[in-house]
């Protein structure tokens, strides 16, 4: 499922990705042959019911899991042959992750959580402090920089996690059910941020079962039973007038 008229090389390019868990009779094929290209600046959502393999696919794309078969290029590197240390380096520099349960370091403040990936990537303390401040401001949390995660709401924690994901200016941000643990209002805050990232041209891959999260993307892929079964572009074309959608126009 490649995007039409793609001019530059895709940032993510997967061919025949396959992932098995277990062996013999207990073998479960979670991802059964996925082809996927994501262009620079494109925002792609993968939607499907729980257990369809979408999280596994995201972990494969992010080099957190190794595929059983298939090939994967990410930011001009072939992932399937990369030794573990180089893979970890690539993850640190080229990828930003956003998880359902935030995965912040509880002992570090919001600012320190955002600084951490930059320090690990070898940036200077001065640069790191400045950029962390900017990132927290961009997610609307400048006044919470010194708070520990335990003093933040769920929505605020996820916004810190998004700032952290952006810290090393990643080629791709990968998000796994980013609103899965959030209530209505916090979900809206996070959706606003993803809408902003998309508008800023950040390359994004989201997996979700929430149609509202998926609707922030440019392109939407549907996954069922380990394969991508449907694709649609959400921009242009079929979008109806808001009046018709709300039932104001006949």
């Amino acid at each position: 499922m490649s995007a039409p008229a793609m001019t530059r090389a895709p940032v993510v390019s997967a061919r025949g990705l396959l992932k098995d868990y277990g062996n013999g009779a207990a073998r479960v094929r979670a991802v059964r042959g996925v082809d996927l290209d994501v262009a620079a600046g494109e925002s792609v959502a993968i939607i499907g019911p729980s257990g369809c393999g979408k999280s596994t696919l995201l972990y494969l794309l992010g080099g957190l899991e190794r595929p059983t078969a298939g090939s994967l290029r990410l930011a001009d590197r072939r992932l399937e042959r990369l030794p573990e240390a180089q893979l970890a380096r690539l993850r640190r520099h080229a990828l930003g992750f956003v998880f359902q349960s935030f995965h912040l370091v509880d002992e570090l403040t919001a600012a320190e959580n955002v600084e951490l990936p930059m320090l690990l990537a070898g940036a200077s303390r001065h640069q790191v402090r400045k950029r962390a401040g900017e990132l927290l401001r961009s997610v609307g949390l400048a006044d919470r920089a010194g708070h520990l995660p335990s003093a933040l709401s769920g929505g605020q924690r996820q916004r810190v996690a998004i700032a952290r994901a952006l810290a090393n200016a990643p080629a791709v941000v990968l998000a796994d059910e980013p609103t899965g643990n959030l209530d209505g209002e916090a979900t809206t805050e996070v959706l606003r941020l993803f809408e902003q990232l998309r508008a800023d041209g950040q390359t994004l891959v989201l997996v979700t079962h929430d149609e509202r999260v998926a609707a922030t993307a440019d392109r939407l892929l549907t996954m069922r039973d380990g394969v991508l079964v449907d694709e649609t572009r959400l921009t242009g074309g079929t979008a109806r007038s808001l009046g018709a959608i709300t039932g104001l126009d006949e």
Binding site: P49, T188, L191, R192, E195, E211, R212, A214, A215, T216, L220, T222, R224, V229, D230, T232, L234, G237, T238, A239, R240, L242, I245, T246, G247
Partner: protein, 193 residues
């Protein structure tokens, strides 16, 4: 959406369902001719407990009307065991109407019954793939969801218009979840009702 054949007949509830039944009946006749009682039995099966609203007399009235409109034609066959001796079959313009209905992606407002019956009828008639109909409908609703969501996110917190958009978003989300269930059901190659 195609105009119902006779707007004057749209009485509350029943009238709406009568309209629903017209295209469905045409679709059920697409593969082979059938007696009215056969059509009614197939509809009852597809509608389950909702079939109660499907008055037997209405089926005959609808068939009569469809025939008058030239969408079906009927022929008397000799059968001694039933008073219902007429066999109905689709005309060419009836067939065109059915195909146009399968292509139509407007979303019925009051209830999912028409869409449900469209899928049942598509599978029964073999004229269109129900899963493809579901996917096209999903694309339409997703584009609508995106439109409504962008409008909702642009509203300042606490604005009253946000409440309407919230309602639209929740409704679209519920519809999309039901469409996912439809896709699952029809993609497993079930027997048609």
């Amino acid at each position: 959406m195609n105009e119902p054949l006779e707007l004057s007949d749209r009485e509350p509830l029943r009238g709406y369902q009568l309209h629903v039944v017209q295209e469905v009946m045409l679709a059920l006749l697409a593969q082979s001719g059938a007696h009215a009682y056969e059509l009614r039995a197939r509809l009852a099966l597809a509608l389950g407990p909702l079939a109660e609203a499907l008055n037997e007399g209405r089926v005959y009235v609808t068939l009569g009307r469809l025939e008058k409109s030239g969408l079906i034609r009927s022929e008397r066959v000799d059968r001694v065991d039933r008073r219902d001796r007429r066999v109905y079959e689709l005309t060419e313009s009836g067939r065109e109407r059915v195909l146009a209905w399968f292509e139509d992606v407007s979303w019925p407002k009051p209830a999912p019954a028409e869409f449900h019956l469209k899928l049942v009828a598509a599978a029964a008639a073999g004229l269109a793939d129900p899963v493809r109909i579901v996917d096209r409908q999903r694309h339409e609703l997703l584009a609508g969801l995106r439109e409504a969501q962008r409008a909702a996110l642009a509203e300042p917190t606490g604005a009253v218009a946000g409440l309407l958009l919230e309602g639209v978003l929740l409704r679209l989300q519920a519809d999309l979840r039901w469409l996912e269930a439809c896709a699952r059901f029809w993609s497993t190659g079930r027997d048609r009702p």
